[in-house]
């Protein structure tokens, strides 16, 4: 709430007032959950991004090189089912997972956000058509839909991204639509209509910035689901294909020797768990941080 200062002089400019809330990032950091979320996410992201560069220098083997007999205990974390260094493959295995889940989430946000804002802004028949089609897609379980698409199109990277992204879109569209409906009756949007601002620009400049709060929360949540979905598909053998190093795939490859050489499974499970918990905490913290600013006056 901005403090009002009485203007004594009717002709002069009113005195300045200042009440800028601190930035979203600082409010996220101020919460303990936000701090934990940022740290957990950052650790796994750094590992996934820089791991591939460190794999060979650190272990002496590339992720595809034969290091020892299968499930041996040589090296820091031993070898996997084909005798490759687990540590090297672990360091190399996060990059694609992270890349694909970020891309899939981004695709879902763009498609879902655009559809949701369009539906809320246009209202009428377009709203009905978009939202009913949405409901149809929502009725199909996400993983089943992905299995179907991958069976038909083959387990390629772009198929993974597109399928996960598009199955996210209807959920994001619902959030975007309800957030848009909350701001659509504000006078600044009516003012833009009055000045005959092109409609796509009203959506991009007047609506989008004002629903960024709920959308960023949704993005964090969808990223968590993307990571889970892609790791699950890899585990099922429909995501990343051998000999690619990938956390989901590693769990599948090494689970037969869980009691003999658990590291091949445990490292990957641990990394995926930390990443999903981290992004989830972060999304919650962002939700709380942005909720404080949505109340103006």
């Amino acid at each position: 709430m901005s403090t009002h200062i009485l203007t004594s002089d009717p002709t002069g400019a009113p005195p300045r007032t200042s009440s800028k809330p601190p930035g979203v990032l600082r409010r996220v950091w101020a919460q303990s959950e936000g701090r934990v979320g940022i740290v957990l996410t950052a650790v796994v992201v750094v590992l996934a991004v820089f791991g591939p560069l460190l794999a060979a220098p650190l272990t002496g083997y590339t992720p595809y090189q034969f290091a020892d007999r299968p499930f041996a205990h040589s090296g820091v974390f031993g070898t996997d089912n084909l005798g490759r260094s687990v540590l090297a493959r672990f360091l190399d295995g996060g990059r694609l997972l992270l890349l694909y889940s970020v891309l899939a989430t981004a695709l879902g946000m763009v498609v879902g956000g655009a559809l949701g804002m369009l539906a809320a802004y246009a209202r009428g028949w377009l709203d009905s058509v978009i939202m009913r089609l949405n409901d149809i897609v929502l009725a199909i379980p996400q993983l089943v839909f992905a299995l179907l698409a991958i069976t038909v199109l083959g387990p390629k990277g772009w198929v993974l991204v597109v399928v996960i992204g598009l199955t996210h879109a209807p959920r994001i569209a619902r959030v975007a639509r309800s957030a848009t409906l909350r701001v659509i009756n504000e006078d600044y949007i009516r003012a833009a209509e009055m000045y005959s601002v092109p409609r796509w620009r009203i959506i991009g400049r007047e609506i989008l910035p004002n629903i960024a709060g709920p959308l960023s929360v949704e993005a964090g949540l969808r990223l968590t689901y993307s990571i889970g979905a892609i790791a699950s598909l890899s585990f099922l053998g429909l995501g990343m294909q051998p000999p690619t190093a990938d956390w989901g795939l590693m769990i599948n490859e090494n689970r037969i020797a869980l009691s003999v050489q658990p590291w091949g499974v445990l490292l990957s499970v641990f990394a995926i768990a930390v990443l999903t918990i981290g992004t989830n905490l972060l999304a919650d913290a962002i939700a709380r941080a942005t909720a404080q600013t949505t109340v103006e006056e």
């Binding site: 709430m1 901005s2 403090t3 009002h4 200062i5 009485l6 203007t7 004594s8 009717p10 002709t11 002069g12 400019a13 009113p14 300045r16 007032t17 200042s18 009440s19 800028k20 809330p21 504000e186 006078d187 600044y188 009516r190 003012a191 833009a192 209509e193 009055m194 000045y195 005959s196 601002v197 400049r205 007047e206 910035p209 004002n210 960024a212 103006e296 006056e297």
Partner: protein
């Protein structure tokens, strides 16, 4: 806190004292509630109330006036022992002397005792009756709930009888059918009288009224004020009437206290404070209140007939003409054949209550609503109904300023970005010069260029409204449609905005359609007055003519019901 002992009996505040002298209950239970040096701070330790001292006397109403943010509601709620989230009590006390009971110090009570106190000894009437009544509960039950909670009476029959009695007291029907109505079946004025009935049900000693008539129309407000005055006298209750409307205080209250930024600057009998104010702030506040007679000079110079007006030329078409505008939604006829003309440099006030169709009409003129029938013409050219179908020149010629400055500017964009939008779509000036045009408009509304890169969140309501007016000016319009532009603002800010609009008319020869519900502004800004009632213009002509010879019963009632200082 019981450190302050009651002072000598009969120590009534001397006229002219800025602080009331502390008066004890010993003088015949005269003082019912006393606030002693009350201090309230935010949890961040910024003090909101800087030591308020007030006394409420039995059978009297004390008007507590101040602008938004002055702490008047905070002080009122403290009498109930309530502090809004983020506020804490840091000093001082509220003491109550109920009828035939022991002295109560509100700050010493626990949660349960406070709950017993609220509604029984101290009652509260909130601002918006539509929000404070439970929509899923019959009105009779809502009043009875107060009695049930405080275990009043011996039997259900006694409680029912009390509900009927208090309904009759506030001038509502008390029969069983009426008690079984839902809140949505009542008008705003009736809803507020239900709120008053709830407050009086337990025979309270103190009544806190927080702007109870702010959302109501003038005629309804007059009825509700009558009810409040009557009930306070009849029940011998001490009332604290919180408001920003000095005219209402003049009508209703016995004494008045003026608050400024958490401090009490003046307190005394209504007659003295309103007619011979001593504190500078009270004087300024009173100067800013518009009067029906138009004798005051609110917002600068007194209003003169606009010099920009050119001699009547019967052959030339008017600058703006609305002909036979009709609009209905289903059964509801919102606008029913409106004819309105505006000459260059002329200001017409469009006056009406909420629901009269005044905003709808002004939006039809501005092209924001396009499903009306009838024509809007600028000079001789008929305008397309929708603003998108009008030419850039026509769009620039008519500019509309929205009611709420808190909603009309995009909070995520700077003032400069928002003000550049009209120039982008009109293509009137090349890109390179746009910043200069916007800065000139900011200068014209006395904000200054430094506001270009600031966001609405940093601005006060008055500053935002100036920015919104500047946005309407960048395209050099010929007609400015102002839709309730001062309703959301405090009186002193309203005065400065009125002064600004008047100067803009003189400098630029702007014609203006000034839409409002506040008839007292008429002589301060308008040449002509059109009175809108249920979608029809019932009185239309020069302001003085309409005031002197109102023809329609509605206009006559309106002029009779205005509270005046």
């Amino acid at each position: 806190m019981t450190t302050a002992p009651p002072a000598a009996p009969g120590a009534a505040p001397a006229p002219g004292a800025a602080q009331p002298a502390p008066a004890g209950p010993a003088d015949g239970a005269d003082v019912v509630l006393r606030i002693d040096d009350l201090r309230i701070a935010t949890t961040g330790d910024a003090e909101i109330l800087h030591g308020i001292s007030l006394s409420l006397r039995r059978g009297q109403l004390l008007g507590l006036v101040g602008e938004s943010g002055s702490g008047k509601t905070t002080a009122g709620l403290a009498c109930l022992g309530h502090f809004r989230a983020g506020l804490k009590h840091t000093g001082g006390s509220v003491t109550i002397w109920p009828r035939g009971g022991e002295r109560i110090v509100v700050q010493e009570l626990g949660e349960d005792a406070l709950r017993q106190l609220r509604g029984a000894r101290v009652a509260y009437i909130p601002q918006d009756p539509a929000l404070s009544l439970n929509p899923a509960m019959r009105v009779g039950e809502q009043i009875r709930e107060v009695l049930d909670v405080h275990r009043w009476g011996d039997s259900d029959a006694a409680r029912e009888a009390r509900v009927a009695e208090v309904l009759a007291d506030v001038g509502l029907p008390s029969d069983r059918d009426y008690r079984r109505r839902w809140p949505h079946q009542l008008s705003g004025g009736q809803q507020q009288r239900i709120g008053i009935a709830m407050a009086f049900a337990m025979f309270p000693d103190v009544l806190i009224l927080d702007e109870p008539t702010t959302g109501l129309d003038v005629s309804t407000q007059a009825h509700v004020l009558d009810t409040i005055r009557d009930m306070t006298r009849r029940n011998d209750v001490a009332g604290l009437y919180i408001t920003h409307d000095l005219a209402v205080v003049a009508e209703l209250a016995d004494r008045v206290a003026v608050m400024l930024r958490g401090m009490l600057v003046e307190e005394g009998p209504v007659e003295r404070v309103l007619h011979h104010p001593e504190h500078d702030y009270t004087k300024r506040l009173l100067e800013a209140v518009p009067d029906l007679a138009g004798r005051k000079a609110i917002g600068g110079d007194p209003y003169r007939d606009s010099p920009a007006r050119i001699a009547d030329d019967a052959t030339a078409p008017p600058l703006l003409a609305a002909r036979n505008i009709r609009l209905s939604y289903g059964e509801a006829q919102i606008l029913d054949g409106i004819d309105l003309t505006l000459e260059p440099g002329e200001c017409t006030m469009l006056l009406g209550e909420s629901g009269s169709g005044k905003t709808t009409l002004s939006r039809c003129v501005a092209g924001l609503i396009d499903d009306y029938t009838g024509t809007v013409a600028l000079e001789s050219a008929q305008l397309a109904p929708s603003t998108r179908k009008r030419t850039a020149e026509q769009r620039s010629a008519i500019q509309y300023v929205f009611q709420s400055p808190f909603s009309s500017l995009n909070p995520r964009r700077t003032i400069g970005e928002s003000l550049t939008v009209p120039l982008e779509t009109s293509q009137r000036v090349p890109k390179a010069r746009r910043r200069r045009v916007v800065e000139e408009a900011l200068d014209a509304v006395r904000l200054g260029r430094s506001f270009f890169d600031r966001r609405p969140g940093d601005l006060s309501g008055g500053e935002r409204q100036r920015a919104a007016i500047a946005r309407a000016l960048v395209n050099s319009p010929r007609v400015l449609v102002c839709d309730e532009v001062t309703s959301a603002l405090d009186v002193s800010v309203q005065a400065s905005i009125i002064g600004l609009l008047r100067r803009l008319r003189e400098e630029n020869g702007l014609a203006m359609l000034f839409v409002t519900h506040n008839i007292t502004l008429a002589r301060h800004i308008a040449d002509n007055l059109a009175i809108l009632n249920r979608g029809r213009i019932v009185d239309y002509g020069p302001v003085d003519d309409v005031f002197a010879h109102p023809t329609h019963a509605y206009t006559k009632a309106l002029l009779a019901d205005i509270p005046t200082l």
